[in-house]
Subunit: 206 residues, 2 copies
DNA sequence: ATTATCTATAGATCTATAGATAATGC
DNA sequence: ATTATCTATAGATCTATAGATAATGC
């Protein structure tokens, strides 16, 4: 009984000496989601064909459809995966974690590229990621406002309220990602983000 | 001899009482570019089919190919058009013009959407807009650094150099556009941008 | 002669369905 | 019985080429 290539310690379940078939199916689905992330980074969602994703994971296009019966079903799985990554519970975001997150992101251009490409597509009409991103930003702005409030109270040193600073914080993170993805040599993403955090923390002298 | 629908005062040329054929051709091309901008806003570049653009302007797909022999040729014309819009000579950007630009943009979501969608696609591999945006951002960062220098000299009140503030300025503009396009009710784009400009102009109290 | 447009169509893709075949696991 | 995977293929699109037809302008 041949084991799957990756090893499977994390998904071990007590059914004899091999994975249960359910666990094996789940692992295959996870492999497919990873392949989809890669292909979407390279070609966007509209440009990512099911055949290309299937090939990446060593299946035919029809084999892939066995695991995800439609392209949208696969996209949903991709977005769910995304939600789990930065799944720090909303109430536990501290401002000083953000700098580390940006630094971490600077080490994984592939993932950043996947979601920057999806965000770009999401503004077009009827795109399947539109609702996802709209709701996500409502949530993220609220979370960031809370983190700012925890750090500074009702007014930042600059005089802004947490609610008004939050969209700026989010905008800087997203905007820097595009500049950095297009030209990583010219843009020091983590450094620029630290500059911005310092700016937020400075007192209003006027 | 029937005139074209729009009237043509601006393109008048001295060849009798009608447009020259060259001027008429140019006007048709301009119409097509406008249609392309619309369809790209709705569906992105990859999603914008030549047939859909042709239909928007009242041509068959093959009729459209008479004016732009390939889809990429049409994209190039779209990007050139973009370059002409905010064609304030680089050296004449003043910081206080930026707030007005953002306010103006808030009144034309279609255009903003076209270029936000293209920017998103541009990070995918081998996309025809990639080089355009990469070069454009190098230029825009330099222009913004100059505008900041003209306003504040070698150090902003916050202590940042113009070169380090410039990418933040650009990032905020782009990032706010995505949040605003996805949820215009929740995001006051011009207001948030003014907040950011104020932040840049505040003195460092530390 | 040039320009504007059309019909017809080649040749790639793309998503998705239908249904066969083999292996796995109660 | 369920799961994994394949071949075959329908039915849409998509870009682009070829070549016809009509109108326009020197």
């Amino acid at each position: 009984m041949s084991l799957h290539k990756g090893g499977c310690g994390l998904l071990w379940v007590p059914y004899g000496d091999a994975m249960s078939s359910r666990a094996r199916t789940e692992e295959r689905r996870a492999e497919i989601v990873r392949a989809a992330l890669e292909v979407i980074a390279e070609r966007g969602y509209r440009g990512a064909s099911m055949a290309a994703i299937a090939e990446r994971v060593g299946l035919t296009q029809q084999g892939l459809l066995h695991y995800f019966p439609t392209k949208d079903a696969l996209l949903v799985a991709v977005l769910k995966e995304r939600d789990q990554w930065d799944a720090v519970p909303d109430s536990q975001w501290r401002l000083d974690l953000l700098g580390s997150l940006v630094e971490y992101n600077a080490m994984r251009p592939g993932i950043v590229q996947t979601f920057s490409a999806l965000l770009g597509e999401s503004v077009t009409e009827g795109h399947p990621t539109r609702e996802f991103f709209t709701e996500r930003y409502v949530r993220v702005r609220a979370t960031m406002a809370e983190a700012l409030r925890a750090a500074y109270g009702e007014r930042l040193p600059s005089g802004l309220s947490p609610e008004r600073a939050a969209p700026l914080l989010v905008a800087v993170m997203d905007g820097l990602q595009y500049q950095w993805l297009l030209d990583p040599e010219s843009v020091d993403m983590p450094g620029a983000f630290r500059d911005f955090l310092a700016l937020l923390g400075e007192a209003d002298a006027s």
